[in-house]
Symmetry: C2
Subunit: 370 residues, 2 copies
C-alpha cells in the first residue's frame, strides 16, 4: 500500500539522486551497516558458518514473535486454506540442507558512484544447515487451483521503503515454489531460528539471493497474476537508471572469496604476511550452478593460475579452494575469481547498475609481505 495522502514526508539522504559520489559514506549507511552484519572473512574457514557470524539483512525491524499465538496462513487460490501452528509444521516431513546464502546487494559499496543503501563490501554471505519442511508438500495439500501463476510470501516485518508503507513481500512463480529444495525452515544449525533469522519460520530458496527467503512468515498466498509489490517491481532490479525498470535480480552469481592471509592492521585491515610459502584458501559458490574453477592472480588480474578445489559442502553450498603462493617482500594485491559450470566468470571490474545489485567483481586483498 502507498503511504496515505497527507502523511508527513520522510527525510531523504544525500542530494536525493539516490547516488553518493565518493569514497566516504553517509551516517545512514553506517547505521544500516551496524544492523545488517557481514561475515568476517576469516569465517570462510568453516564449512558451516557459526550462527552468530552469518550475514544478516533486515529491511525493517526484527519482529518479536509469540509462537503461542503465531500461525502460518496458506490461502488465496487454493482448494483448502490451511492455518498451521509451528508444531503442525514441525510434524511434517523434515529436510536438512546446507545452503550458502548471499545478499543481492553484496559488493554495492565497491561501485562508484554508489547507490545509497545497505553499503556491503563483500561480506554479505554465510552458509548454514537449515531444517524445514518442503513447501511443495503444503502447496499440494492446500491444492493450487487452475490459473495460479505465483505464490506470494508475506513477512511480519513492516516499515516504509521508497515512500511506501509495507509488509515485506516477495513472490515466486509456481515452478520455482514447487522445486524440491524450497523449504519452510524452522531450524538453523540444529537449533530454532534466532529472532534475527526469521523465528519462528522463514522461507528458504536455495540458489537465489537472500531477499527471496522471506523471514517471519505470516502468510503464503496463491495468486493469479504476477505480484507487483515494491520488493519485486521497484527494489531488487538491475537497471541502468532510476527510471528504467531493468531486470529482476534472482539467482546467485558465481563468486570466490579469500581468507585474508597473515595478520591485520586494526584500522585499515591491510594484511601483514611473512615472506615464504603461504597457502591461500577460501570458498567459492555459484548459487544453483556449480563452481567449475577458481583462479588466483598475483599481478592485479593480468595472469591467472588455477586453485585446487575441495568438495562442495552440499549441492547448494560453497566449496573450498586453496592455492600455494610464494610470498616475496613488498606490497601485493592478490585477486581471486570463480567460474561457474556455464562458463560465466567474475568480472575484473564491477558491472555498474543503479541499485548496486549483484556486483560479483573479483575479490582483491591488499597485503604487505616482509
Amino acid at each position: 500500500m502507498k503511504q496515505e495522502q497527507g502523511a508527513a514526508r520522510l527525510p531523504t539522504v544525500g542530494d536525493g539522486s539516490g547516488l553518493a559520489p565518493g569514497d566516504t559514506f553517509y551516517r545512514e549507511e553506517l547505521q544500516l551497516a551496524f544492523r545488517n552484519r557481514g561475515m568476517p572473512l576469516e569465517g570462510l574457514q568453516y564449512d558451516i558458518t557459526p550462527t552468530g557470524m552469518h550475514y544478516l539483512l533486515t529491511h525493517f525491524d526484527i519482529p518479536k514473535v509469540d509462537v503461542g499465538t503465531w500461525r502460518l496462513h496458506l490461502d488465496g487460490l487454493v482448494s483448502r486454506g490451511l492455518t498451521l501452528t509451528l508444531d503442525d509444521i514441525r510434524r511434517r516431513p523434515a529436510v536438512t540442507l546446507a545452503v550458502t546464502m548471499e545478499c543481492a546487494g553484496n559488493g554495492r559499496a565497491l561501485l562508484s558512484p554508489r547507490p545509497v543503501s545497505q553499503p556491503w563490501l563483500v561480506e554479505a554471505i554465510g552458509t548454514s544447515e537449515w531444517t524445514g519442511t518442503p513447501l511443495r508438500g503444503l502447496l499440494e495439500e492446500a491444492g493450487l487451483k487452475d490459473g495460479v501463476v505465483e505464490v506470494l510470501f508475506t513477512g511480519l516485518d513492516q516499515g516504509v521503503q521508497g515512500d511506501e508503507l509495507q509488509y515485506y513481500q516477495r513472490s515466486l512463480t509456481v515452478g520455482e515454489a514447487m522445486r524440491d529444495e524450497v523449504l519452510l525452515a524452522y531450524e538453523m544449525n540444529g537449533r530454532p531460528l534466532e529472532p534475527q533469522h526469521g523465528y519462528p519460520l522463514r522461507l528458504l530458496v536455495p540458489g537465489w539471493y537472500g531477499m527471496t527467503s522471506v523471514k517471519w512468515l505470516d502468510r503464503i498466498e496463491a495468486i493469479g497474476e504476477p505480484f507487483q509489490g515494491y520488493q519485486m517491481t521497484a527494489a531488487y532490479r538491475r537497471a541502468p537508471t532510476a527510471d528504467d525498470p531493468g531486470e529482476p535480480v534472482s539467482l546467485i552469481q558465481v563468486r570466490a572469496l579469500m581468507v585474508p592471509p597473515g595478520i591485520p592492521d586494526f584500522l585499515t585491515r591491510v594484511r601483514l604476511v611473512e615472506a615464504g610459502d603461504v597457502l591461500l584458501t577460501g570458498r567459492a559458490w555459484a548459487g544453483r550452478r556449480e563452481v567449475a574453477r577458481v583462479e588466483v592472480s598475483a599481478d592485479g588480474g593480468r595472469t591467472w593460475e588455477s586453485a585446487r578445489l575441495g568438495e562442495p559442502v552440499s549441492r547448494y553450498a560453497w566449496r573450498s579452494w586453496s592455492f600455494p603462493w610464494k610470498a616475496t617482500p613488498g606490497r601485493h594485491s592478490l585477486c581471486v575469481r570463480g567460474w561457474d559450470s556455464e562458463g560465466n566468470v567474475q568480472p575484473t571490474e564491477p558491472a555498474w547498475n543503479f541499485q548496486g545489485m549483484a556486483n560479483n567483481a573479483v575479490h582483491r586483498v591488499d597485503m604487505i609481505v616482509r
Copy 2:
C-alpha cells in the same frame, strides 16, 4: 613488541591527525562496522540478548582454535604454574551469571570531530548468560607470590595497532582479578562460546567495559609491575589530545536506551508512529553500580519525567524501563537518560575526548507521529 625496524610502513587513514571532521565516514570505518556488529535496538526487548544479536568487537582476526591442542597457561610469579585443558576447566566449580557488556567506544561516532576507529553509534551492547569458573580459584591454586601487583591476560588474536605488532593483552590489579564475579567463561547462553565470542575460553569481568574481557585466552601471568602494553597505556584512555596519556577507561558508565517505537523507514531509520497512547520501553544499566532512575524527555531535554523501572536481570545486567507517552501528530525527538546509584546522570551533550571513549550522552530517537 614494537614493529621491527625496516618493516614496511602501514597506510594510514585520513589526514593522519586521527580525527575525521564531518558527518561522513571513511571506508575503513565502514569495514570495521561490518566486522564489529551492533545489537539492533529492538533487541532491547529481550532480557537475554539472542546470541547472534549481541554486539561484537574484535581488534584483529577471529582465531580458529583446535580445542584438542589448546591449553590455558597460568604462570609468572606463582608457586605452581598450571597448564589446563578445556575439560580441566569445565570440571571446576561453575557459575552462571547474566552480564550486560558494552564496548568502551560506544557512542564514538556521535562525537564531532570524530576519532577514526570503530564508529559505534549506540548499539555496542548486549546481555548474555555466561557460564565459567571463578578466576580466583585458579589463582589461589597456582598461589600468587609476594610482590604480585597485576594479572596479565593474553589472547590468541594477533595484529598491528598503533604501529605495534602485538597479541591482544590487558591486565587487572590483583584486587580486581580476585573479585567473586570474575569468570573464565566457556559458555554463552548455555552453549559453548561461538568462535567470535572467544572460543574456547574468555575472561569475563562484569561491570567493566568489554575490552577487559579478553577472548581466546592463551595465557594468564602474575606480574610484579603494572603492565605497560599498548591496550593499557595507548588505547582505552580518556584524554584531551593525542599526546596526553589521560585516564584509563574502566567501569561501565550509566546508560539508558529506548526500543525505537513504531515502524522504521528502511534507509533513514526515522520512526513512523501512530498518534495516541504509546508505551515507550527500553533498558538501562550502570556497570558495577545500580540504575537508580530513568527519565524521558519529549521536549529535547528541557524537562524530564521518571519512567517506571523493572527488576534488574542480575546484579550485573540491565533492567527494563517503561514510560506511557501520549503521541501527538508532528515530528518529535524523544530522549532517555539514566541515573546511577551514586548520583551520576548521562550528559545531554557528549563529553569529548580524543579516543572517543565512554560517550554515554542521552539517547535520542527521531520520529514522525501521524
